[in-house]
C-alpha cells in the first residue's frame, strides 16, 4: 500500500486517537494529571444517555445528556484529586484515575451489561473515495475536532482572561492561588470540559469503536500513545501522534506475516521517538 493510502487508513481511526490525545495533553498541562479515565468517562456518559433514547428525544439532546453526565463524572474525579491531592505529584494524582478506570469499567458491566450497546454512530460512510481508498466522514470529523480543540484551546489560553488564569495555574499553582485565582474551580472546569468532549467523541463514533466497556481501555491506549508522542505537553504533536498510531495500525494489518509484531510496533515507535526527543537528562525535581 502506498504511503498516502496508509495515511488515509490511519485517518479512519487515527482521528479519534488524535482527538483523545489532545484531551489527554490538555489535562496533563492544565491539571497535572495523566487521565487514565479519559475515555472511560466518555463511554460511561454515552452509554447512560442511551437510556433516554426510548423517550424519543432529538439526537442532540441525547448527546447533550451524554456530555453532561461525563462532565459531571469527570468533575467529581477532578474534585477528589484537587481536594486531597492538590499539591501531590503527577504520579500520585494520575494513580487515582487508574482506580477510577477500574471502577468505571466494572460499574459499566453492572449498569449496562455486556451486550453490544445500542449506540448508533452519528456519522456513517466515506466522505469521498478514490480507488480502494476511502476517506471516512468520522475520521475527518474527528481529526477536525482534534485540530479544532487544539486550536480553540490555544486561542482560549492566549486570548482570554480565563485562558491566562489557566496558564498561570499550569505554570505555578501555589503562586496562582496566592493571587486569589480559583485554582480548584478552574481545574474542575477543565475536567468537566474534557469529560464532555470525551462523551461527544464516543457519541460520534458510536459502537463502531465503542461497543462495550472494553473500549474504555482499548481506546485509551492508542490515545495515550498519541499524547506520549507530544510528551503530554504539545497538542500538535499529539494530533500527529494519533494519526501516526492509526496509520501504523492500519498499514501493519496489511502484512499478515508479521502479525505477531503488529501490536508491538506502535508502542516501540513511540518509545523510540520519545527516547530521542527527550534525550536530555531530566531530574525529578528542579533542585
Amino acid at each position: 500500500m502506498d504511503i498516502l493510502g496508509s495515511l488515509v487508513v490511519g485517518l479512519s481511526s487515527g482521528g479519534l486517537y488524535a482527538a483523545f490525545g489532545v484531551l489527554l495533553v490538555l489535562m496533563a498541562t492544565l491539571t497535572r494529571v495523566i487521565n487514565f479515565s479519559q475515555v472511560a468517562v466518555g463511554v460511561f456518559g454515552a452509554y447512560l444517555s442511551l437510556r433516554f433514547i426510548p423517550l424519543d428525544l432529538p439526537t442532540w439532546v441525547i448527546i447533550l445528556i451524554a456530555m453532561v453526565t461525563a462532565a459531571a463524572i469527570s468533575a467529581l474525579l477532578g474534585w477528589i484529586i484537587a481536594t486531597w491531592l492538590g499539591e501531590s505529584s503527577t504520579t500520585a494524582r494520575s494513580a487515582v484515575t487508574v482506580a477510577t478506570l477500574l471502577g468505571l469499567i466494572s460499574l459499566s458491566f453492572l449498569v449496562f451489561g455486556t451486550r453490544p450497546q445500542a449506540n448508533p454512530p452519528l456519522l456513517v460512510g466515506p466522505l469521498f473515495t478514490f480507488g480502494d481508498i476511502a476517506v471516512t466522514k468520522v475520521g475527518v470529523l474527528m481529526l477536525a475536532l482534534a485540530v479544532g480543540i487544539a486550536a480553540v484551546s490555544r486561542l482560549l489560553l492566549t486570548k482570554t482572561s480565563l485562558g491566562v488564569r489557566l496558564r498561570a495555574i499550569a505554570d505555578r499553582q501555589t503562586a496562582a492561588e496566592l493571587l486569589g485565582i480559583n485554582v480548584k474551580g478552574l481545574q474542575l472546569f477543565v475536567w468537566a470540559q474534557t469529560g464532555a468532549m470525551s462523551a461527544l467523541f464516543i457519541s460520534i463514533v458510536g459502537n463502531a469503536q465503542a461497543g462495550s466497556a472494553n473500549s474504555m481501555i482499548v481506546l485509551l491506549i492508542p490515545a495515550a500513545a498519541a499524547a506520549l508522542v507530544g510528551a503530554f505537553t504539545n497538542v500538535w504533536l499529539a494530533v500527529a501522534g494519533g494519526l501516526l498510531v492509526g496509520a501504523l495500525q492500519g498499514v501493519l494489518t496489511g502484512f499478515p506475516s508479521i502479525t505477531l509484531l503488529t501490536d508491538w510496533v506502535p508502542l516501540t515507535v513511540i518509545v523510540l521517538f520519545l527516547l530521542w526527543n527527550q534525550r536530555k537528562e531530566v531530574w525529578d525535581v528542579a533542585r
Binding site: M1, G5, V9, G10, S12, S13, L16, Y17, F109, G113, T114, R115, P116, Q117, A118, N119, P120, P121, L123, V124, G125, P126, T129, D132, I133, A134, T136, K137, V138, G139, V205, G206, N207, A208, Q209, A210, G211, S212, N214, I217, V218, L219, I221, P222, G246, Q249, G250, V251, L252, T253, G254, P256, T259, T262, D263
Partner: protein, 411 residues
Amino acid sequence: MHSSRNLKAVAAIAAVGALTLAACSGTSASDDPSSEGSAATGDPIVVAALSGLTFFPEAPEAVQAVFDDYNAAGGLDGRPIDYTVYDDKTDPAASATAAQDALSSGAVALVGGSSLLDCAVNHTTWEENGIVSIQGTGVDPYCFATPNIAPTNTGPYFDTFATLYYGSEELGFENICAIMVPDEAAAKAAYEQAIASWSASTGKELSYLDTTLVRGQASYAGNVSSLKSETCDALFVAEVGDAVLALLGEASNQGVDLPVLVLTSAYSDQFAASAAYSSDIYLPAEWAPYGDMTIDGMQDWADSMDAHGVPKTAFSQGGYLAAQYFIDILESIDGDVTRESFTAAAKGMTDPIDSPIAQAPFLFGDADFHQPNNTAYPVVLRAGTNEWESLGPLLIGDEIGWQYSTVPAGT
C-alpha cells in the same frame, strides 16, 4: 445501596482472616409454597452450573425458571431440585475453583452452564469425577469433543459451517471473504476444520481469510482496508456481537456494503437495534428463531420466561432446553438419584428426547464426544430494519455434509 453494606461485610470478614469461614454453601432455590399445594419439600436434588454470569446471565436464569415450575408442581416425587450457579468470571482459575465448588456441593449433574471456557478448563475434572454436563451454551471446542459434556446448542464451529453453507449454496455467494478472531489455538483449529468441512461439502474455497483479529481490537480500519482490495461478494465475520458491530461500523465508514454472514452470538435484539449497516446480515440460529411462536413448544418457553421475568433470547432457549432434558433424564432413573445414577442414565440413553425448539432430538449417550444439536435456522437482518426475520429452511448438519470433529486441538 449495596456497596456500603458490602464494604462493611468485606472489612469485617477480611479482618478476622476469613479463611476459616464456613465451607461455602450455595443459596438454594427458594421454594414457592404459595403457588400450589403440592410443592416439593423433600430432600433436594442438587444441581449446579458454571457460568460467566456477566456475559450470559439468561441461560442459568432460564434453568432456574424451569426448575422453579417443576418444584412448584411437586418436583421428583416430592423432592425439589436445588440449583446453584457458580460464576467463573470468564477466568480459568476461577472456573477451576468453581468446578470444585460445584462438585463439593454434591451436585448430581451440571445443567445449563454457559461459559466461554468452562469445557476447556474443566472437562477432565468432569470425567475424573464421573459427572455429566448438559451445557446450555457451549462455546469452546472442548464442549463438543469430550465424553462428559453434551451441549444443547450447536456451537460456533457448526455455526461457521452452516452460515458459509447457507451463503454459498442458498444465497449463491461465489466469493466469500472471511475475517475471524482465532482466539486460542484449539478454537482456531476447530474453525479451520469447520471451514474445511464446508469446502469438502460444497467444493468451494474462501476467497480471502484474515485471522489476525484479536479480542478487543482498538480499530478495524486496517482489516477493512485490506479486505477492500480483494474480490468479495459476501463477508463472513466470526466474532462476538460488539466486535461485529464495530467491524461493520468501520466497513460502512469505508464504504463497504457487502452482505454479511455472522455467527449466532449476534442473534439478539440489542444487536439488531444497534446495527447501522447498509446490507443484509445473515446468521444461523441455533434453535427455532426466538421470536417465532408458531413453532411447537415456543409458546411454552415464552410463557415460562415471561412468568419468571427472564429475557426471551437464544441464550434462555438453551438454558430452558438443558433443564427440560435434565428433567427427562432424571425421571428415567430407577432408584436412588445420585451423581452415579444420573451419569449412568445419561450415558445409557438410547431414545432421543424430541424437541421442536431445538429442532433436533437430544441424545446424551455413551460417545466420546457429543454434538446432539446440528441444525441451524437461517435468519436475516435486512438493511435498514432492526428486527430479525426468519428465513429457513432448516439446515441439518447430517444432510448437508457436516463433519464432526473429535480432536479439537492440534496445530
